[in-house]
């Protein structure tokens, strides 16, 4: 199977061609936003951090933000800093040089340019040039092996584990078999399934690393956060819909990673650099997890939901699928695909997976997802107030 994508100089493939304007710190947000509003077609990436954090959270912010900017869906970047903030110009430029050395990155600073109007004028000039360059990119034929697919779920209900996640697991296996990569995250929503995850390690070390990451998260909630995570997860909505325990939710959740052996275990926001299905340690909060997968290099994310969720990402299409027909029919403006035919016996899981694969390829080719059409673009970075 092929799709039409943007081949980048480093060999990676983008399925979108964003020129991103991002504030280097939340203080300079007004300048970044005005530039984005003035230069049609640019993409605004929100940053609520960049200063006033401890060193570990500061580094996490830098890691996630530059991971997003390094994503192959991003053609080029304009960062608008203030000047005095924690993450300095050189911090951004050095990280970008390491992660995406071929990508054009401009940096301007309000305290150097001389206030808001001059910064915005300079930014408009630079962003317009980048838009001109981006417009010259053309889509070329690419292989599924070039695809890195994020696997996410949120607002789960009991259909997630027996329909949407099962179908997505089948899709994950197909992409992996074609030489591509899939990324599952949300560590705490594998609690109860850690044995199954460990058994799927391509090596005993990978399996153990995934197992340990899940156990560590469980311990973190109990010993550091001061509560058993099972007291707050499943959420009230999960419970109303029929999920009784975190273990039940997790065992349904991990189905979306398919059956192939895990080839890696990555930390929060690491750049994923292997093929195959991999695990990434992240928070369970859906936007945090989705953003981390995109910062890791996923060009698109399939997000399964039972109850519905409108979230999207500024630079990567998020494809919403549900196994709950009632939800699909009620929330058509935020959902892209209904997997429930397998529950009614109308189609087999592989047949529904055929349809989902076709949709994913359409989205890779440029078809906008509902989240893109809606302009949904949440941007969240996990904060721990402690070391890694």
């Amino acid at each position: 199977m092929k799709f039409m994508g943007y081949k980048r100089p480093d060999g990676k493939v983008g399925i979108r061609n964003h020129v991103v304007v991002m504030a280097g710190v939340v203080c300079s947000d007004i300048a970044a936003r005005r530039i984005t509003e003035a230069v049609k077609g640019t993409t605004y990436l929100y940053n609520s951090y960049g200063c006033g954090q401890g060193i570990h959270d500061n580094n996490r912010s830098l890691k996630i933000l530059t991971g997003m900017l390094a994503n192959p869906n991003v053609h080029s970047v304009l960062i608008v800093g203030l000047g005095c903030e924690g993450i300095q110009e050189q911090g951004y430029l050095k990280a970008m040089q390491e992660k995406a050395p071929h990508k054009k990155v401009h940096y301007i600073m309000m305290q150097r340019e001389g206030g808001l109007a001059k910064t915005v004028a300079k930014g408009i000039e630079l962003a317009s040039e980048l838009m001109n360059e981006a417009s010259k990119c053309v889509r070329e034929e690419c292989d599924l092996a070039d695809l890195m697919l994020g696997l996410e779920c949120g607002g789960s209900d009991p259909t997630s584990g027996i329909s949407a996640n099962v179908v997505l697991g089948e899709v994950s296996d197909r992409i992996v078999d074609a030489g591509g990569t899939t990324v599952i995250s949300e560590t705490s929503e594998a609690i109860g399934g850690e044995h199954a995850m460990r058994a799927r390690g391509a090596t005993p070390e990978i399996g153990q690393a995934i197992f340990d990451a899940i156990k560590e998260k469980d311990r973190y909630y109990r010993d550091v956060a001061g509560q058993d995570i099972r007291d707050s997860n499943p959420s009230p909505g999960n419970i109303r819909s029929g999920l009784s325990t975190l273990e039940e939710k997790s065992l349904g959740c991990i189905n979306k990673s398919g059956t192939r052996p895990f080839t890696g275990c990555f930390a929060y926001g690491d750049m994923v650099n292997v093929k195959g299905p991999v695990f990434m340690e992240t928070g369970a909060y859906d936007p945090v997890s989705t953003v981390a997968e995109v910062a890791g290099g996923c060009q698109t994310v399939v997000f399964t939901t039972g109850m519905g969720n409108p979230m999207g990402c500024a630079i990567a299409p998020v494809i919403k699928i549900t196994g709950n027909r009632q939800t699909y029919e009620a929330l058509t403006d935020i959902l892209d695909f209904d997997t429930s035919a397998n529950l009614r016996g109308e189609k087999t899981v592989p047949q529904v997976a055929d349809d989902l694969m076709a949709l994913i390829l359409d989205v890779c080719n440029g078809r906008p997802t509902k989240a893109e059409l809606n302009g949904a673009d949440v941007m969240v970075i996990d904060q721990y107030f402690m070391g890694p």
């Binding site: 209900d157 325990t245 016996g345």
Partner: protein
């Protein structure tokens, strides 16, 4: 044979997920791993996509779904009983290497 109205994931499972709203007294039917069809009579109303027990589960015994432990029974649960937070609790943290 009654219509299939529940999903049984693994033959090890002690409960199934109903795919329609079920009223007390209704028959809940599902496919087993070998393709045969089994049934249980609902002892209570079961909301759509919620769980119903298909075997007896003793108090403090594990409850299985996906072939794995999803919880521990807080009371004796009979075949046909509604299974949810009123009668099962999480397995909980287990310290192990």
């Amino acid at each position: 044979m009654s219509a299939i109205n529940a999903v049984h994931v693994s033959d090890r499972d002690s409960c199934v997920t109903v795919t329609v709203p079920v009223a007390a007294g209704d028959t809940v039917s599902y496919h087993c791993g070998d393709g045969s069809v089994a049934s249980v009579k609902a002892g209570a109303d079961i909301p759509i996509y919620h769980k119903i027990a298909v075997i007896a589960i003793g108090k403090d015994d594990f409850v299985y779904k996906y072939g794995e432990k999803i919880g521990i029974a807080k009371d004796n649960i009979n075949p046909g009983d509604y299974v949810h937070i009123h009668n099962i609790k999480p397995v909980g943290f287990v310290e192990e290497a």
